[in-house]
Amino acid sequence: MNDSTTTPERLPDDVRHGTFIIIAAYNEGACIEQVVREVRAEYQNVVVVDDGSADDTFEAAKRYAPYCLRHVINRGQGAALQTGIEFALLHGARFVVTFDADGQHCVEDIQTMVTPIARGEFEITLGSRFLGEMGQIPASRRRTLRMAVLFTRLVNRVNVTDTHNGLRAFSARAARKINITLDRMAHASELIDQVRLSGLPFTEVPVRIRYTDYSVKKGQSSRNAIQIVLHYLLGRILR
């Protein structure tokens, strides 16, 4: 899908400084500090949205993240991402990247995601774990995700290989067009809809996922998936 799969050069400074990394975190006190620290080592604009955590996520994030936002009531990941995106745009973001809080993404992949946008080739890039080497993906997880992709092809009519990857990058123009209204996990499918409806050019970019015990435990179970599907379909009917 994308020929420039060789790891791109480090992003130019002006691009890096205009890039806002949005991290939505819910009860991630155990690892948010490490994740924010890694991202912050490369990017100055890190926005953590604490989605009403009961633990010390907010305090831990504050140590390294220059922008910390808190939902006073838990509203779900979709809602938290939208909050971060709106905040970033208010603060002059030129590029917006969403990044999961549980340490499953690699900081180096951010430049892979942003480069095609910075070059003006695309407005949106979506991370895909299935485009690269995918040896490390646990079999059960792979099955559920495959179903999700099939679902997306049928319902959203978009041909993507990985619909539920937390790593996504948007130009400011694209970010302004995105409005996530489904608060919980169904936002992933909704987002794909909006990407398609926006008419903006998008592509998938291979990214690596680090499956640690922690991130697998925090992830969505396959049983949960049915619930997410129902939530999404209802959301499409009842606007």
Binding site: A41, E42, G52, K62, Y64, Y67, I73, R75, A79, T83
Partner: protein, 127 residues
């Protein structure tokens, strides 16, 4: 008049008074109050003269008046649930927008440790 009819009349009478009070105090609009009053009047008729419901039911091809009332009740309740669900969704949506505004307004902006470019310490490059 049997015991059930007496009890039902007392309950319906209470609800009628409640509707009256609610409408007079402005908790409900006059239109809502009027519609509820109609429902209670119909209930009184059905309680005092049960055969009336049977007559209507027969016309609709249902054997017993009680069955007609049951079917109507099920439909009304389903519509009620749907309305409550739609309203709940809207309230959730509004809550999210409120929480978002608060989060953006009260954002904590700091100059934290570890600014970029100064952190190329050896142990962080080992990965």
């Amino acid at each position: 008049m049997n015991l059930f009819q007496t009890l039902a009349l007392v309950v319906v009478g209470g609800l009628f008074i409640l509707t009256l009070v609610a409408t007079l105090r402005g908790w409900a609009t006059r239109r809502e109050g009027f519609l509820w009053a109609l429902v209670w009047v119909a209930a009184v008729v059905a309680i005092v003269w049960p055969d009336a419901t049977t007559i209507i039911a027969r016309k609709l091809g249902i054997k017993r008046g009680a069955d007609l009332i049951l079917y109507c009740a099920v439909v009304v309740m389903m519509i009620g649930f749907l309305m409550v669900y739609v309203r709940l969704r809207r309230i959730r949506r509004e809550l999210t927008l409120l929480v978002r505004q608060l989060a953006i307004r009260d954002a904590v902006i700091t100059s934290p440790l570890n600014p970029p470019d100064e952190t190329a310490t050896p142990e962080e490059n080992t990965e």
